[in-house]
Every structure is written in structure tokens, then in C-alpha cells.
């Protein structure tokens, strides 16, 4: 478990509780909904712009694509808020029969338990964002033989060169995955490889 996990869980729980409070206490659900939609929109816009920059400006693209974490975090917060709202709304009313109280109690616990399983840890978030970014780069930066024809929207790298291996390998340079530190080092290696040996970039 990453040392970030408890900090991350605390932050998301507080955000979820804040959203639920906006809804339940102040009845300003429109603000809660607007915050969620605004964050989702920011993230989606950054991802969209980032996807288009992968080919020409890989470093910028990497930062923009990492905004996917905002989208995942937003929905995780929403799930947390929904759990709180459900538990409050399903509170047993005064004068309810024993049977009704029992059913509502079980339902409430079950729903809250289910929603809590949707919470994402810092590690799984990093893995998810890493896989998303890996897919974007690995399908854009292709290793090709010297005479290979160009493909639209792709970058042809010399097969086996350092730039190519930085993107496609899980062994070379010690980059075993696309976690945060490794993905930044991979892109550094890609840019450095192309700058130092421009012949590595075929088209």
C-alpha cells in the first residue's frame, strides 16, 4: 500500500462528505452537481487536448493525460457522497415497525458497503492512469524498419532504438511499468533519445 493511500482516502472521504452536506444540509444540490460536472469537464477537456498532443509534444501530453485522475477521483467522491446520502435517507422513521426497521437497516448497510467497494486506492488510481497513458503512447510511437511507409497520426521510431524501447519495453532501463515516476522517466528518455539521435525518428 502506498503511503499516499490514507491521505488520498481521507481527501476523497472529506470531498464526498462535503458533497453530501451540500445536498442534505443546505439543500444546494445544484451546487454539488455543478462542482462534479465542472471537474469532470475539466478532466475530459485536458484528456482530449492531451490525446492530440501525444505525437507533437509528448511531455505536455503526459501532464494533460494525467488529468484523468481528476475524473476518476470525481466519480469516486460521488460514490462516497451517494453512500452518505443513502444512509441518511434510509434512516428508520419514528414509529416504524420492527420488521421495517430491520429491512431498512440491512438495506442501508448493504448499499453503503457496496458503494465503499467502489472507492479506489492511490495505487489502483496510479495503475489506472498509467495504463491509460501507456495505451496512448504505445499506439502512437511505433517501432518500424527504416523503409516502412508512414502512417497518419503515428510516429515511426527506429525499431530497437532507445526512444522505441523507452515506450514499448517493460524491462529496458529498469522501467517495469507505467507508474508515475516511470512514465515521466520514459517520456524523458523518449525525448532525450530523439533529440540526441534525430535519426531514431524516421517519420
Amino acid at each position: 500500500m502506498s503511503y499516499m493511500t490514507p491521505i488520498y482516502a481521507f481527501f476523497l472521504t472529506c470531498a464526498g462528505a462535503g458533497l453530501a452536506a451540500l445536498w442534505l444540509v443546505t439543500d444546494r444540490w445544484i451546487i454539488a452537481l455543478s462542482v462534479v460536472l465542472a471537474l469532470a469537464l475539466i478532466s475530459l477537456t485536458a484528456q482530449s487536448v492531451g490525446s492530440r498532443q501525444v505525437k507533437s509534444r509528448p511531455r505536455l501530453a503526459l501532464y494533460l493525460l494525467e488529468a484523468r485522475a481528476i475524473l476518476v477521483g470525481t466519480f469516486t467522491t460521488l460514490a462516497g457522497a451517494a453512500a452518505i446520502i443513502l444512509v441518511v435517507k434510509l434512516a428508520v422513521p419514528d414509529g416504524a415497525s420492527e420488521e421495517t426497521a430491520s429491512i431498512l437497516g440491512t438495506l442501508s448497510a448493504g448499499l453503503a458497503g457496496f458503494l465503499s467497494t467502489l472507492l479506489i486506492t492511490a495505487d489502483s488510481m496510479d495503475r489506472h492512469v498509467g495504463d491509460f497513458i501507456r495505451q496512448k503512447f504505445q499506439t502512437t510511437y511505433l517501432g518500424v524498419p527504416p523503409e516502412a511507409p508512414q502512417e497518419n497520426g503515428k510516429v515511426g521510431l527506429l525499431r530497437g532504438g532507445s526512444a522505441h524501447r523507452a515506450i514499448q519495453s517493460s524491462v529496458d532501463f529498469g522501467f517495469s511499468d507505467w507508474s508515475r515516476s516511470f512514465r515521466h522517466k520514459r517520456i524523458d528518455k523518449l525525448v532525450e533519445g530523439i533529440n540526441d539521435t534525430p535519426s531514431q525518428k524516421l517519420w
Binding site: 501507456r134 504505445q138 511505433l142 517501432g143 525499431r159 530497437g160 524501447r165 514499448q168 519495453s169 517493460s170 524491462v171 529496458d172 532501463f173 529498469g174 517495469s176
Partner: protein, 140 residues
């Protein structure tokens, strides 16, 4: 224990002689003690130095599409070839252990993990997880 197991396995397969193994292992252990085994690039560098230092012989070392390999150019005398090859194999072994992986096939993108398969005629080959899969030439 894992390192010892791998060394014994490579030796049992007849990949290297005991004296070559001892020399290659000694060099790598010395490099590990110096904290130089941080990444694969190190092996490229050490091998290039090692091979080019032998009697003015020329050699090129490169990734050969099936994990780590050595392509040697003449003139190279047989003992030098065998020794250089043993160093590559030991280096690859350390990389496999340190990366917890069985090497990578670089014939297609993204690179895919490889595993050793024994064919029906008893030969050992490397086979990858690409679709369609790639198979290295039989090695033993």
C-alpha cells in the same frame, strides 16, 4: 538462492563452461557490489567494453529481437566468442531475476513477455505472448 538456481540451470544446459561462468559471475558480482547494476543499459556498456578490449577484435552487441543477444563479427577467435556469449547470458539472467520477467520479445509493439518452451524433439525455444506468437530458433 534464486541466483544460485539460475546459475546452476544455465551451467547444466551447457550454455557456459565452469571457468567462463566463474569469470563472468565474478565481473557481474563486482559490478553489483559497486552498485552499477541499476539498469539494462549497464550491460550494453560493460559488454561493449569487454568485447572490444580483446586483441583488437571487433564486435557489435545489440538487442536481437529475442531478448538479449550478441551478434559478433569476424575476426573473433572462438574462446573470445564463447566468453562474450557467456557474459551476455549471465547478464540476461541477472536482468531476468532483477526485473522478475523472462525477457521480452521485440518483434512487435508493445513488447511481450517470453517463456522457455521445450518442443516435442527436446529442444528449448523462447516463445512470446504476441498474437501470432514468435518463436526463437531452438537453442539446446
Amino acid at each position: 538462492m534464486m541466483v544460485i538456481t539460475w546459475i546452476i540451470l544455465e551451467w547444466r544446459l551447457g550454455v557456459v563452461s565452469s571457468s567462463q561462468l566463474a569469470e563472468a559471475t565474478r565481473r557481474l558480482e563486482a559490478a553489483m557490489a559497486r552498485g552499477e547494476l541499476e539498469n539494462v543499459q549497464y550491460f550494453h556498456d560493460v559488454l561493449r567494453r569487454y568485447v572490444s578490449s580483446g586483441n583488437g577484435s571487433s564486435a557489435t552487441y545489440e538487442m536481437n529481437g529475442y531478448g538479449y543477444g550478441l551478434r559478433l563479427q569476424s575476426p573473433m577467435s572462438d574462446p573470445e566468442v564463447a566468453e562474450a556469449r557467456s557474459l551476455v547470458r549471465i547478464a540476461a539472467m541477472f536482468i531476468r531475476i532483477s526485473s522478475n520477467a523472462g525477457g521480452e520479445c521485440q518483434e512487435a509493439d508493445p513488447f511481450a513477455p517470453m517463456r522457455v518452451i521445450r518442443t516435442s524433439d527436446g529442444k528449448l525455444v523462447w516463445r512470446c505472448d504476441h498474437s501470432p506468437e514468435h518463436t526463437s530458433p531452438a537453442s539446446a
